[in-house]
């Protein structure tokens, strides 16, 4: 339970901090400090149990079926790391209290810092590997936010993005690795996994698992070749650098390698991968560090190099190396955090971190200078300081691993040592010499409590360096025991081991380092802006930036290549893919060519369809330049379709198709006025003509192929015997149960009335959409002018308004016919409606017929005249129709039957005898209403556009004449 508190309080603190007003300063720091103190208290409380070798566990079930639970598990290693995390957090909070500027919105800073601490504690306390990854990514995230804290600076943004990209990618690899590891081990639970080392090492997946987990660890710990993000992360405020980039976050990778050391290590692959990366990093980074000019840059590379050292130790795979690794982790955290803070103080006080400017700070801030010098000495590995001890252990191990025949590791260690002495000297040099006069600010000692954390850490360095067994001994024991268990080797934490080879190596590094620095110093002074020799070409950051840029542009290129934003290619693809899918499905089966039955060829029918086909092809051919012809030709094809329906026993379809044909023609004609005139283009360039030809050939081929496919599958269907399906039921039950002899109509309004309800909804929706669209329709400028027919003086009707035309003009006579026709059409519509249930007809046909009658009046006398005399309210027709259909269904529900259950009312009327009124009749009435409403709404909305143009045209009478199409 305490474990849960330990994990939760930072997050609670984070939320609390985030809710503070942004001007708040001290209270934030106190809040953070309180969190840190509580954590420390909990850790102290748990020490007795941990030191007994107990493993504390606390489990909350999260996704037990998937083996993912929140398991908090504290052993010695976790305790040690927790101590590190919480302890340094406290110091950093204290330091930050004075470091952050009054303008900085500190609540955000502390919130992020607390979140980070929580995430970090989560990593070290995870008893489940997936949970570890979860917190791992949270550390990446919170570090991203912390690095980008000063987000108005582009270096902060870039540094944050880079750090996050690299570490989050590593995290994803880690997740994959952990999942595979869990699969091999049979569980994600750490205890189970730790026990499955032998299984894993023998498993075929060992290498991928190792690689993926190593990728996670190496990216996080900024190991070569992923080291480049860390120097850029220095854009973060210094407390962040001190906390994340020296003591904690970068140690998460190290922690992971330690945690999984029992499972993963002990193989040549481990040594080569981890050890190799470590050695490469320590050499490279320590070398580059010498040539930095930025204090924090130097410290960053130094950090990388020390992390490389620890990684190299872990890569060695021996238990003693493990102990050394843990020891150096602690040491590095203390001296590096203090150095970062010192650098921050210098920056804070002098206004710069450029070592080329900083001189003689010893005179201006003597205490700070002393502290920094001691910490640097620890970093350089000077005896009686903690760095010396762990480095010596490192040297000893390199000798041990390399054995007598192979000294390359020892050699690398010595070289690294020389470099680190050199850069430590370079760091120290800022305190010596004559004070610089050209600094942005005149530095002096920082506030008392700002220096306090540095003092604490330096005291720790000294304490460990002088009395290791007393100070750090128990802690180290605790950590090493947790990892190594039975394998815990004997080691001796003493300042003096006598004169041995490691001591000689230490001596060489110290003198070598001083010499190297002396040699190089002149060069620094000569070439202030020199880049690190040899290695400046290996620029991870450049590589990263160009990779990101390349990714973006490459992806965008590829996306353009593999995708399109134009319609035609999409349709080509759609049709081709469908064709391919159909053909693939069809040919994957054995051929079936057993003709079942066929109707004898009928010459008239063939002739009819010859016409239909000719019309269709001609419509396709004419549609570009001769719209009217194309429309007429498509109408011809439609007529043949109607006749086919009629001929093949589908009178209902024929009637409906006939009406739809008419309405569609009127509709498209209404739209034609707003389309631009199209003249054949003159002489395109030969190249574009060729591509156009190619494209047309491709489309033609595709069209022919899809036509062939449709023809083939149609023929196949017709040759196969019909499956005994549901249709017999309808034919048999239409009269007894549906109460109508027209089976199609009974299907539409009863058996499958729900489909029809949906279908009229579609109609209603489209009508509403069309109405909405047309209300805000703005025609193109050139089609606003009146059509040439209406402005040409040759026609006496040219400037007559529709009303004049029909009541005295050329439409006088046609008007008489159409006005006589209207009531007749209405009666016919009613007729088709009433008989629909028993004979061809029904709501659709009737509705369309009725609408056609009304539209004829519009056509004759114009919108204004008709609407001034008749209020149609198509919206109401539409809504009431839909409601009527719904009400029919709801009536059944009220009667206790399912929705849309049909009933027949049997009315005994005096004169007429028995009348059977099926409820489907009301439903069909709804259909009728919707069809009328929708059709009228669409057509009149379109028609209104013309009258609008007319009003505009009459407003300015001298509209330019337009060429007749």
């Amino acid at each position: 339970m305490l474990l849960l508190v330990l994990i939760l309080i930072p997050f609670i603190g984070c939320i609390r901090a985030a809710l503070q007003p942004s001007s708040e300063r001290s209270r934030e720091a106190w809040l953070a400090a309180a969190v840190g103190l509580i954590g420390l208290a909990i850790l102290a409380f748990q020490f007795p149990q941990i030191s007994q070798g107990e493993v504390l566990r606390y489990q909350i079930d999260w996704m037990p079926a998937y083996g993912l639970n929140l398991v908090l598990r504290m052993d010695g290693l976790a305790w040690l790391f927790s101590l590190l995390i919480v302890g340094i957090f406290l110091l950093v909070v204290l330091y930050a209290r004075y470091y952050m500027s009054p303008q900085d919105p500190v609540p955000r800073f502390y919130a992020f810092l607390l979140a980070f601490m929580g995430a970090m504690l989560g990593v070290v306390l995870s008893g489940n590997l997936v949970q570890l990854v979860l917190f791992w990514e949270l550390t990446s995230l919170s570090s991203f936010l912390l690095i980008g804290y000063w987000h108005h600076r582009s270096d902060a943004r870039r540094g944050a993005r880079m750090a996050f990209t690299v570490t989050a990618s590593g995290g994803l690899c880690l997740l994959a690795g952990v999942l595979m590891l869990g699969h091999v081990a049979g569980s994600y639970d750490l205890d189970v996994v730790l026990a499955a080392g032998d299984t894993l090492r023998a498993h075929a997946w060992y290498r991928p698992v190792l690689l993926l987990i190593a990728l996670g660890a190496l990216t996080k710990s900024a190991q070569f070749p992923f080291h480049f993000w860390l120097p850029h992360a220095m854009a973060a405020p210094t407390p962040v650098s001190a906390y994340l980039h020296s003591a904690t976050m970068v140690k998460a990778g190290i922690f992971l390698l330690m945690r999984l050391w029992p499972v993963l290590s002990g193989t040549p692959e481990w040594t080569w991968l981890i050890g190799g990366a470590g050695v490469a990093t320590l050499m490279l980074a320590s070398f580059i560090a010498i040539f930095q000019h930025d204090l924090k840059g130097l410290l960053a590379y130094s950090t990388i190099s020390h992390l490389g050292l620890i990684t190299a130790l872990l890569g060695m795979g021996t238990p003693l190396a493990m102990v050394a690794a843990i020891f150096h982790t602690l040491n590095h955290a203390t001296f590096k955090a203090s150095l970062f803070m010192a650098a921050g103080i210098i920056d804070h006080e002098s206004g710069t971190r450029d070592m080329r400017q900083l001189r003689g700070l010893r005179h201006l801030m003597p205490i700070t200078a002393t502290l920094a010098i001691v910490a640097s000495a620890a970093m350089a590995g000077v005896p009686f300081l903690n760095g010396f001890l762990s480095k010596e252990m490192f040297f000893a191990e390199t000798l041990l691993v390399g054995s007598s025949s192979n000294y390359w590791m020892a050699f690398a260690a010595v070289v690294m040592g020389i470099f680190s002495v050199a850069y430590s000297l370079r760091f120290i040099y800022v305190f010596f010499g004559r004070p610089a006069s050209d600094l942005p600010r005149t530095p002096h000692e920082p506030p008392r409590w700002m220096r306090f954390p540095v003092e604490v850490l330096v005291v720790l360095c000294l304490a460990v360096g002088m009395m290791p067994a007393l100070s750090v001994g128990p802690l180290l024991q605790l950590g090493a025991q947790a990892v190594l268990g039975e394998q815990l080797p004997h080691y001796d934490l003493a300042v003096w081991h006598g004169v041995n080879l490691p001591l000689v190596m230490s001596f060489i590094t110290l003198t070598g380092g001083v010499l190297l620095y002396a040699v190089l110093r002149r060069r620094f002074n000569l070439a202030q802006s020199s880049r690190p020799p040899l290695l400046h070409r290996i620029n991870g950051q450049r590589l990263y930036e160009s990779l990101m840029l390349g990714l973006r542009s490459g992806a965008s290129q590829l996306e353009k290549l593999l995708g399109t934003r134009r319609l035609q290619p999409q349709l080509v693809l759609l049709v081709s893919v469908c064709l391919a899918a159909g053909v693939a499905a069809a040919i994957s089966l054995p051929s079936v060519w057993t003709a079942a039955h066929s109707t004898p060829l009928d010459l008239p029918f063939a002739l009819l369809w010859l016409l239909g086909c000719v019309c269709a092809v001609a419509a396709a051919w004419q549609a570009k330049y001769h719209r009217l012809s194309a429309l007429a030709l498509a109408g011809g094809a439609g007529l043949v379709v109607c006749l086919t329906f009629l001929l093949l026993s589908a009178p209902d379809l024929a009637l409906t198709q006939l009406m739809v044909e008419t309405v569609t023609t009127v509709l498209i004609l209404l739209g034609l006025r707003w389309l631009p005139p199209r003249q054949p283009q003159l002489a395109p360039s030969p190249r574009s003509a060729r591509t156009a030809r190619l494209r047309r050939s491709r489309d033609l081929l595709l069209a022919i192929l899809s036509g062939l496919a449709m023809a083939a599958i149609s023929y196949l269907v017709l040759m196969l015997p019909a499956a005994p399906g549901i249709s017999q039921f309808f034919l048999e039950q239409a009269v007894p149960q549906g109460g109508g002899t027209n089976v199609v109509n009974v299907l539409l309004v009863d058996f499958r009335g729900f489909d029809t309800l949906g279908e009229i909804s579609v109609l209603a929706i489209v009508a509403l959409t069309v109405y909405g669209l047309l209300r805000r329709f703005r025609p193109a400028a050139e089609s606003m002018a009146l059509p040439p027919q209406q402005t040409n003086p040759a026609d006496p009707a040219a400037r007559q308004i529709p009303e004049e035309q029909v009541n005295g003009g050329y439409l006088l006579v046609p008007g008489v016919y159409l006005r006589v026709l209207l009531p007749m059409i209405m009666v016919c519509a009613l007729y088709f409606f009433m008989r629909g249930h028993n004979m061809p007809g029904g709501g659709f046909v009737a509705g369309l017929l009725f609408s056609v009658g009304i539209i004829l009046q519009y056509l004759l006398a114009g919108t204004q005249w008709v609407e001034s005399r008749m209020h149609l309210h198509p919206h109401r027709w539409l809504a009431l129709g839909l409601l009527a259909a719904l009400a029919t269904g709801a009536g059944a529900v009220l009667a206790g039957y399912p929705f849309l259950t049909s009933h027949t009312a049997h009315l005994e009327l005096p004169l007429f005898g028995m009348l059977h009124v099926p409820s489907a009749f009301v439903f069909d009435l709804g259909v009728f209403g919707v069809v009328v409403g929708a059709t009228l709404l669409i057509l009149t909305a379109l028609a209104h556009q013309s009258s609008r143009a007319h009003r505009l045209a009459h407003a300015n009478d001298d509209t330019p004449h337009q060429e007749e199409p």
């Binding site: 379709v641 569609t664 707003w674 069209a703 017709l718 193109a780």
Partner: protein, 113 residues
């Protein structure tokens, strides 16, 4: 008869496909019209062909095997109406597009040369 109707469906469909691949909106709308003819016929013939056997069960107890499949007819009816609605919608959409962009290209802008 079967071959004739199958071929006809093929021709209608091919003409429609050719048209919907064209760049002008009017071509596309005529193409959609032709495709809907083809598809309606296609659905229709899934009930196989029968001449002069409309599904009108005028007397109860008639041999139902004589009738054409009413289900496909009901489906086609729905498809016809929906096809009409969508044609209307596309028409108005293409007019709107033309009004806003000044072109009748399907992409709402003339292709750059």
């Amino acid at each position: 008869m079967e071959a004739v109707i199958a071929l006809s469906i093929g021709v209608l469909f091919a003409s429609g496909v050719w048209l919907i691949l064209r760049p002008r909106t009017f071509q596309v709308i005529i193409g959609l019209l032709l495709i809907s003819y083809a598809v309606n016929l296609f659905i229709f013939i899934m009930g196989r062909l029968s001449v002069n056997q409309p599904p009108l069960a005028l007397q109860a107890g008639t041999d139902t095997n004589l009738f054409a499949d009413p289900v496909t007819q009901a489906l086609v009816l729905t498809a016809i109406v929906i096809g009409f609605a969508t044609t209307a919608l596309y028409l108005v959409l293409l007019l709107t597009s033309r009004g806003l962009s000044g072109t009748d290209h399907v992409d709402g802008r003339e292709p750059s040369a």
